[in-house]
């Protein structure tokens, strides 16, 4: 049957809670469509979080304090200031991870939330570079969350302007060689030249828009890097040079922007200032390569590692016809036959697995360190994909033998903690519905204890796929 409630809840959502399938049964497609705009009010899990700008100011101050002590003492920095910096960053990271997984475990808008996570992974920053762990969750809430159902160009611009992305890909360091400051610096210093850093420009083209085969050259990377020189952050920079602007917020710095008309992908951009970069981004958003790249990633995320060709074609066409609107693309996905094929085609990532377990248990995690440690152990620490490409989205990557063993160990551990009060067969019926394999059901019913039955349910192929 098309529009199966278990598919709606587990493939498109974040995993069913007991009782969810009955609610969804009335109209699985409508249940998904109704979630697209997300909750009307900001979820309470997120309302207490600080803004990224405030956090950046706080950690930059600690950094400066550390550096000042180092220079004054001409020695290693005093241990407590080093510890204080690490503690502060870590506590922000834990707080934001906590909020993210609490919300995912309890939200009534799981499809919306899955899309948030999908785009955060598409526009990935990684907490293995400082000071990203202190702001990665805030980046998700500020740049991604408000923009996932609008026009892709707006989402794109919001992400590239966010301090997390600028810092992660070094754009605040990129200086136009013939900009005011570039000329002055290169005159004054013979040894060291200041200049371009291609990092952000390259990843925008390769990972955020066109895709690696999308038809750009090294020349495009270099000129696009010139276009976005000056996309920076306000407040004092590392060496106190950049004092203007709102501290910790996006700031366009004309003094380091490479002046002039630049040609990207064969088109001349004569705009001044930030408008030039925005114009390039808007054109990139509507490029057919971008449409196909996004459609392929979306289909691969929701349907199968090898995205079905017809579905990709359909999503690509929808995107281009609507002028890069995202909601129509999601609607095409939801109504496509290929998206409702059983059995489940995707092996859950550790992130999916952990969230769906919490939802199955109706357990809102209250110990963030436990959640972070579990995800880290299974190979997917929150906000830390390790590269701007984000996490891979295929069972090739997640399907290591050791990774499965860690899932079994973790299933066993959580079953001991929260599983003993639930009947695992009833739970399986409740969350997997008609997709619950009778053989799995039988094996669980013969388990020697509730805890063991629960471990079998969580580690079963039925639950490990979506």
């Amino acid at each position: 049957m098309k529009f199966h409630p278990a598919i709606a809840a587990n493939r498109f959502g974040l995993g069913a809670r007991p009782g969810d399938l009955q609610k969804i049964e009335k109209g699985p497609a409508a249940w998904l469509l109704d979630q697209l705009q997300g909750p009307a009010r900001q979820p309470s899990e997120l309302s207490g979080l600080p803004g990224a700008a405030d956090v950046l100011v706080e950690v930059q101050d600690l950094r400066r304090e550390r550096r000042a002590m180092r220079e004054a003492a001409d020695d290693e920095p005093a241990p407590d200031i080093v510890k204080k910096y690490g503690r502060t960053v870590r506590s922000h990271y834990i707080e934001q991870s906590h909020a993210r997984y609490r919300l995912a475990a309890s939200t009534d808008y799981p499809f919306h939330e899955r899309l948030v996570h999908f785009w955060t992974n598409h526009f990935a920053v990684s907490a293995d570079k400082q000071p990203i762990p202190a702001i990665a969750g805030l980046y998700e809430n500020e740049a991604i969350r408000p923009n996932i159902t609008g026009n892709f160009a707006d989402l794109l611009i919001a992400c590239e302007r966010h301090p997390a992305m600028i810092l992660y890909l070094d754009n605040q360091r990129s200086v136009g060689p013939t900009s005011t400051l570039g000329r002055r610096a290169n005159r004054a210093q013979r040894e060291r030249t200041v200049g371009l850093n291609e990092n952000l420009a390259r990843e925008i083209l390769e990972l955020h828009t066109l895709g690696v085969d999308g038809g750009y050259t090294q020349h495009d990377v270099t000129t696009f890097a010139k276009v976005i020189t000056g996309w920076s952050i306000g407040g004092a920079g590392e060496n106190g040079r950049f004092a203007e602007g709102d501290p910790g917020k996006f700031e366009f710095r004309d003094t380091i922007h490479e002046p002039g008309t630049h040609t990207v992908l064969g088109k001349r951009y004569a705009q001044k200032g930030i408008a030039q970069g925005e114009a390039v981004l808007r054109d990139l958003a509507m490029h057919p390569s971008t449409a196909r790249f996004l459609a392929t990633k979306l289909a691969a995320h929701f349907v199968a590692d090898e995205a079905p060709r017809d579905l990709v074609d359909e999503l690509t066409a929808t995107y281009l016809e609507s002028g890069g609107e995202l909601a129509p693309m999601y609607e095409s996905l939801i109504t496509a036959d290929a998206a409702w094929v059983a059995p489940f085609g995707k092996y859950k990532s550790p992130h999916d697995f952990v969230i769906s377990t919490f939802r199955a248990f109706e357990h809102v995690p209250d110990n963030a360190r436990f959640v972070v440690a579990a995800l880290d152990l299974m190979g997917q620490a929150p906000f830390r994909p390790g590269s701007p490409a984000g996490w891979p989205d295929s069972s090739d990557y997640w399907g290591g033998a050791d990774a499965l063993y860690k899932r079994i160990e973790w299933s066993n551990t959580v079953s001991r903690v929260v599983g003993s009060r639930v009947n695992p067969v009833e739970l399986g019926d409740g969350i997997l519905g008609a997709t619950f394999n009778p053989e799995t059901r039988k094996a669980i019913s013969r388990a020697e204890s509730n805890v063991q039955g629960m471990t079998l349910l969580l580690a079963s192929p039925d639950f490990q796929r979506r």
């Binding site: 590269s387 399907g399 290591g400 079994i408 079998l456």
Partner: protein, 400 residues
């Protein structure tokens, strides 16, 4: 207490052969051990082994030029042309014992500058991006035997890197802090997975790895905590355990990240020097822990591509092309630098910016696989590295 081995036997998985039978080879060195270390992020070959004897070196490298071997704390002299980064004393000691070599101006066939595509080509062994969906080291396993539960190769990670993905069964291992599931639960899971090959295979592999890990008290203490250097040392320690275990794997793959030094790369100290110290410590740990097995071991350290010759605007280097690779191990015929040096003058560079590749990394891999693991040239050319006939295997890499 039932051992993991009993569980394996009960399920009969120990007997399922996964290698291709019938490809026999005359003098296979079944004691040979091979370790592949992938440096992800494009490690700077000009810092790994600096061409201090090139007249242009100091000029083009500017503030990132490393002090010459004559200077205190300077490069570790390999020959009149090259010096090893001073943060690699352990590798240098092996070089002096003629058990390490450096291969310079080396690159995969990939000529663009995406990390992810570069790693794809380095690992798939094809002539281009996405041409093969499995890894060259996986394809190389076919003649090496290995059965389900006794795989010939192990990924030292939760998730298997591309180079080891493919039809031949491989296993993986990483440290854990969780309590183990009890044997009754594991046995029931084996039954539950019996109809689903994806899960059945992986559980069998994991149980075998657990058996080796459980056999060593120290492994229970291993933690995935600590900084990157400590983690690499831990992984090297574990690698040695697997490579010396009875029926254990003979091939291991490790990964180390953090080489993408776009800003503040540093020279004798700094970000890159810290990475190199960690790498050097890891390799020294491996040598010490392998004991006598070291004499039959080749470790290859490679990266997806190199970095720009010139320093960028942020005291770092951007994505380039050729880099350097290192072979180290008791079986390595070392004490030399293999390089057809392309030069650093502007006209020598690739696209005016990168070290020009004069060696193909597939030639290095083919040489090691042929001489160390006794794989035939035709098998290497047809299956392991298709379309690589022009990349002739390097010779005399391994002691005979």
């Amino acid at each position: 207490m039932i051992s993991r081995r009993d569980i394996l036997k009960a399920a009969g998985v120990g007997a399922i052969a996964t290698g291709i039978p019938g490809i026999a080879f005359a003098k296979a060195n079944t004691d040979a051990r091979f370790v592949l270390v992938i440096l992800r992020g494009a490690a700077d070959g000009l810092a790994l082994a600096a061409p201090y004897g090139d007249g242009n070196y100091r000029k083009v490298r500017g503030e990132l030029a490393l002090p010459s071997p004559a200077r205190d704390g300077g490069l570790l002299q390999l020959d009149d042309m090259f010096g090893l980064h001073p943060s690699l004393p352990g590798i240098f000691a092996e070089y002096e014992k003629e058990q390490a070599l450096v291969c310079h101006a080396i690159a995969s066939p990939y000529r663009e500058r995406s990390h992810f595509d570069g790693q794809d080509v380095l690992e798939n062994g094809a002539a281009g991006v996405g041409l093969l969906r499995d890894g060259w080291l996986n394809r190389a396993l076919a003649p090496l035997g290995g059965t389900l539960g006794n795989e010939a190769a192990i990924a030292m990670a939760q998730n298997t890197p591309l180079v080891l993905r493919g039809n031949n069964s491989v296993t993986s291992w990483a440290p854990s802090q969780l309590p183990e599931a009890d044997d009754s639960t594991l046995r029931r899971l084996q039954d539950l997975y019996a109809e689903d090959e994806f899960f059945a295979t992986r559980l069998a592999q994991a149980l075998k790895s657990q058996e080796i890990a459980d056999g060593e008290a120290a492994m229970g203490q291993m933690r995935s905590r600590g900084n990157d250097a400590e983690q690499l040392r831990t992984m090297m320690q574990a690698t040695a355990r697997f490579l010396t275990a009875d029926d254990g794997p003979r091939i291991a793959v490790l990964e180390a990240g953090g080489w993408d030094t776009h800003a503040n790369q540093g020279t004798t100290s700094g970000a890159l020097a810290n990475r190199l110290t960690g790498l050097d410590g890891g390799l020294t740990t491996l040598r010490n822990e392998l004991g006598r097995t070291w004499s039959n071991t080749v470790v290859a350290v490679v990266t997806e591509f190199g970095r720009t010759v010139a320093v960028n605007g942020t005291r770092g280097t951007d994505h380039g092309t050729a880099s350097a690779a290192i072979l180290v191990g008791g079986a390595v015929n070392g004490g030399r630098v293999i390089a057809d040096w392309p030069g650093l003058a502007k006209s020598d560079l690739l696209q005016d910016r990168d070290l020009r590749p004069t060696a193909d990394v597939r030639s290095l891999f083919k040489g090691v696989l042929a001489e160390h693991l006794s794989l035939s040239g035709s098998f290497l050319d047809s299956t392991v590295f298709p379309d690589s006939a022009a990349a002739r295997p390097m010779r005399d890499l391994v002691r005979t």
